[in-house]
Point group: none
Chain length 213, copies 2
DNA sequence: ATTACTAGAACACGAGTAA
DNA sequence: TTTACTCGTGTTCTAGTAA
């Protein structure tokens, strides 16, 4: 047991997963936060536990991680994989104040019609601003269908395309709308829906909502 | 330090990554190979190191892994990912004009020092703006180590944290810097580097560069 | 039930050093 | 130069037990 895994990962990073590498306990001890003696002892331990093959000499140590050691690392990898990659079908976010630009867009007929047709949403007037971890958010929707709401021009202004994705917010079918140019934080997303979230869920700023697929 | 990571992974598997879980030191000690007392002490330690939030009572303990703890686990995950999944991924982008906000940030001492220390980059004054497919970009870096450049305050202004990732641009070690608040298009990323790209590669606006890991 | 303190025992650390 | 042993010291363990 113990923290020998740390050392094993270190050795793996040094290339000992696939081939024999040659280094010294002094070098390791310098990159690790322990003495030459401790490194030496831990390597002996790792060998005793069958995690590595070890050929010491007066000119250094040749090390290769054994099948059992590889298995050990792969075990940890799988565990963490399950935790971090597999099932990110929902993320959490916090309600933020501000009407959001989307609030304005929603009211524009040309957009409004497309929200109904393409997203199946008769938008409540106003958007819900939610702060999320942007990378988690992108990972969540990166495999989803991107639905483009076409822009249009008036005499005075050009309204650009809006990228949108269908999501559920606290289980309620909604859509994230992403105008191309934005002026608020990257990690604040705008949600449109037929539901008035603030009323239905009694949301105040800072309250948590769940965004799922 | 030590082997607290083992316990952290255990807690994550029990669901403490996303929500608060309720269990007891006795239960943990049975699944772990140590005593109730040791588990109790290690949990206190984990809390002291900021890895978990912990609410003890006479009816058990409520535990949730903190952001710092998640970061720790993700770090290990990234390391193992790099070892076990071979990926030679790269995306392409187009150079855009504009000095970018990063150009300004780079010159600020508090950021500058961190670029050197945390990213190993002595930044050339000015950033390279590159237009990419944002989703491809996120997928590229989503398994990379997130490096946070801490914000700071002056009398007049608050400068927020900057999230950054090490990348290579046309093979040159660089970093993507993502200020929290931005005013340009989402799919334009800013690159800092010790190299003056425009000069070295004779880049004009619209020229293609390769971003790799 | 719990958590977690105290205290003595077991263990790990690293300076010195042999080989 | 190495690795790794001995051994004094410090750290971490768990049984007992208070709260």
């Amino acid at each position: 047991m113990g923290d020998s895994e740390q050392l094993l990962i270190y050795l793996a990073e040094k290339g000992a997963l696939k081939k024999e590498i040659e280094l010294s306990t002094i070098k390791i001890s310098k990159e690790f936060k322990s003495s030459q003696q401790t490194v030496s002892r831990k390597l002996v331990e790792l060998e005793k536990n069958g995690m590595i093959h070890r050929i010491p000499s007066t000119r250094g140590i040749k090390i290769q991680i054994s099948d059992k050691g590889i298995e050990k690392l792969r075990n940890i990898h799988v565990k963490l994989n399950n935790l971090f990659t597999a099932k990110a079908s929902a993320i959490k976010g916090k309600v933020e104040s501000g009407l959001g630009e989307g609030s304005y867009y929603v009211s524009l007929g040309k957009y409004y019609e497309q929200f109904k047709d393409k997203l199946g949403i008769v938008p409540f007037k106003g958007t819900l601003n939610v702060k999320v971890d942007y990378i988690d958010f992108i990972n969540l929707i990166s495999n989803q269908n991107k639905i483009t709401i076409n822009g249009f021009k008036t005499e005075n202004r050009t309204f650009g395309d809006i990228v949108s994705y269908k999501v559920k917010v606290n289980g309620v079918p909604s859509a994230v709308v992403i105008p191309k140019r934005t002026s608020h934080d990257r990690d604040v997303i705008e949600i449109i829906s037929g539901t008035n979230f603030r009323r239905k869920f009694h949301l105040k700023d800072g309250d948590e909502v769940e965004i799922s697929l």
